[in-house]
């Protein structure tokens, strides 16, 4: 059973941090493989409404894993990720540049993923630091996401309280 993700922003003064914690009913090695094998990554590494169209993994520190995903409207976005740290099967860290179909950067982030053995399953912690938003291109990606979930300014207060 998946525990609901918790997300928050840290008090870090320089960037926004999102943290997600999940429990998976599978051993660390299997979850780690799903993160680091191109074939397996292409089964899950995209949001709802998107399909992974290509995935390549050069599994070494300094190597790149690159995932291209297509929205339901046919727009293609690329997640270009460079490994910074690999500890099998416990930890991954990578720097990401997310690019639009013309190869223009949308935003940069640094993500670390921790895999912890817990009761035969895996506790997964994903921490992603949004370092730079290449304004206003980010809106392009936001618009390509599934309609219906984007909340208007009316829900801003709720959003901000949730993040506190």
């Amino acid at each position: 059973m998946t525990k609901r993700a918790e997300s928050r922003q840290s008090d870090d003064a320089s960037s926004a941090v999102l943290t997600f914690t999940r429990n998976f009913d599978a051993p660390c090695k299997r979850v780690f493989d799903a993160w680091t094998n191109a074939e397996q990554l292409s089964n899950w590494f995209c949001p709802a409404g998107f399909t992974v169209v290509s995935c390549a993994v050069d599994f070494r520190v300094g190597g790149v894993f690159d995932v291209a995903m297509r929205s339901s409207e046919g727009r293609v976005f690329r997640w270009h990720n460079t490994y910074r740290d690999i500890v099998i099967p416990q930890r991954l860290a990578y720097a990401s540049s997310i690019l639009d179909e013309a190869g223009r950067p949308i935003f940069d982030a640094v993500t670390s993923v921790t895999f912890r053995e817990r009761d035969g399953g895996t506790l997964l912690i994903v921490e992603s630091v949004v370092e730079k938003l290449h304004d206003p291109a980010a809106a392009v990606f936001a618009d390509a996401m599934e309609p219906g979930w984007r909340e208007g300014l009316g829900n801003l207060a709720a959003f901000l309280h949730r993040q506190s």
Partner: protein, 116 residues
Amino acid sequence: MTFAALADPTRRAILARLSSGAATVSELAEPFDMSMPAVSKHLKVLERAGLIGRGREAQWRPCRLEAEPMKEAVDWLETYRRFWEDSLDNLDAYLKELQTAAPGDEKPAVAPKRKR
């Protein structure tokens, strides 16, 4: 950058307060048990980030939310959060498929691509 301005809990609380209407510095200071200069410092950060505007009316200078940049930043963080929530949901479903396809197998067969 907008995200730095959003990263501080006091600043987020100030923005939440302003989302229900403009307010003066003293009105903003009150619920936080903070000095006016401390609040002013936060307001300057928010103003520089383009998230709030200050009125020109004499010493009152009420603060108000600048809707567009604020919405853009919030939308973006929500988008990114959603990316992870969705992907991790997919991962959970994918791992369950593997489990079903090859229970106890350390080298699971590759499951058919999930249709989304």
